[in-house]
């Protein structure tokens, strides 16, 4: 049993043959498949890294675009604000001018009125003077009374004038 006979030669040959057969049919294909898979995985990883990079770039560009858009937005809004301010100014100016025009018109009208009043006043004064002269001529009145009368008349005329003037002022202030 523990005797070594010549079948040991056969067994050695058998085992060496088995090593070669297994190398041909088992180890070579399996190692090749493992290598191929690791190659494949490496390639995939590389591809993924590249894709990641492009995505990163895209993100960067998108972010930049966003920033630009924001800037543009801010600029547009500022511009719009400026424009709005201009328009506001214009409107205010126009309104002011209108007001001015209206005021001027009223002033003109008031002046005309005043002038008319002045002219009527003048006529009246002339009339009064005439009357005074008439009365003076008709009845001999003392010079004191005369002056009194003239003063009274004048004062009245002045009061009237003042009233008219005041009316004109009030209209201008509107």
């Amino acid at each position: 049993m523990i005797r070594v006979d010549r079948s040991i030669v056969l067994q050695v040959v058998n085992f060496v043959a088995l090593v070669f057969l297994l190398f041909r049919f088992l180890f070579k294909p399996v190692v090749k498949a493992l290598d191929r898979r690791s190659q494949l995985i490496k390639g995939e990883l590389q591809k993924i890294a590249e894709e990641k990079e492009t995505l990163e770039k895209m993100k960067q560009s998108l972010l930049e675009e966003k920033k630009n858009l924001k800037e543009e937005y801010v600029r547009t809004i500022d511009q719009a604000r400026l424009e709005a301010a201009k328009i506001k100014e214009e409107i205010v100016r126009e309104a002011f001018e209108e007001g001015e025009k209206i005021r001027k018109e009223y002033e003109k009208r008031a002046k005309k009125e005043v002038e008319k009043l002045f002219s009527t006043m003048k006529e009246e004064m002339v009339n009064v003077a005439e009357e005074v002269i008439k009365k003076f001529l008709q009845s001999q009145i003392t010079p004191e009374i005369q002056t009194q009368i003239i003063a009274n008349m004048f004062e009245e005329a002045m009061k009237q004038l003042e009233a008219v003037m005041e009316v004109g002022h009030g209209q201008r202030n509107d």
């Binding site: 030669v9 090593v19 297994l22």
Partner: protein, 221 residues
């Protein structure tokens, strides 16, 4: 019982006796080669179940070698992987009716140990050169040369005897159980023999790796 120790000789091939052991070895070899051909016939990048098992085995062997001799996993893979696969299969072949476990014949065990015995200097010379390899025998001093040689020879015998003794012991125990009670009783022992076979394959493989990696190891100075 007699059959266990002196396997039947079927015929002579070139004057060499073709015993039952040799025929069992052929059957085991055919089984392994056909199975591996069947599995590796179409290797997919996405592995199927059988392919996964094979890949797992190959990777385990490569890792085993890399753990003791880094960088040489691919070089030793054919020999070491074949040893593991053949011993593992051959040690449980006696569970198949009509077959004899080839490793329970001292011829097979000694043949395997002889292959390792010659593979060690083969790899050592291939990787370190003739001078580099044989310098190991006279280091640290030439007095140790006989001891190195004796250790090489005894460890070869030890490898062969360990494998052969374990498997044969298992076979004898199963045989005795069969003689006592052929039904059901030997089954636990048969299961245990599977365990023993796989363990022996592992030990033979790991010792081979240890010997070979010691031979190819480059010492500084």
């Amino acid at each position: 019982m007699e059959e266990l120790f002196n396997p039947q000789v079927f015929f002579y091939f070139l004057g060499l006796p073709v015993t039952k052991t040799v025929v069992s070895t052929w059957i085991v070899m055919a089984f392994l080669v056909i199975l591996s051909w069947f599995i590796t016939r179409r290797m997919n990048p996405v592995p199927t179940r059988l392919q996964n098992i094979v890949e797992l085995f190959v990777e385990a062997i490569i890792n085993l070698i890399e753990g003791m001799s880094p960088g040489n996993g691919r070089k030793f893979l054919p020999l070491v992987g074949s040893l593991a696969l053949f011993i593992g299969t051959a040690s449980i072949a006696h569970l198949v009716p009509g077959l004899k476990a080839p490793t329970s014949d001292f011829n097979t065990a000694f043949a395997l140990a002889l292959v390792v015995f010659f593979a060690v200097p083969f790899y050592g010379i291939a990787m370190r050169g003739v001078r580099g390899y044989f310098r190991e025998y006279v280091s640290p001093s030439p007095i140790l040369l006989p001891f190195h040689i004796i250790s090489e020879i005894t460890r070869t015998f030890s490898l062969a005897l360990r494998l052969f003794g374990n498997i044969l012991g298992e076979e004898i125990i199963i045989g005795i159980f069969f003689l006592l009670s052929p039904l059901f009783v030997p089954i636990p022992m048969m299961l245990f023999s599977v365990f023993t076979g796989v363990i022996q394959a592992y030990i033979f493989t790991i010792l081979t790796v240890v010997y070979i990696s010691a031979a190819v190891e480059v010492h500084e100075g």
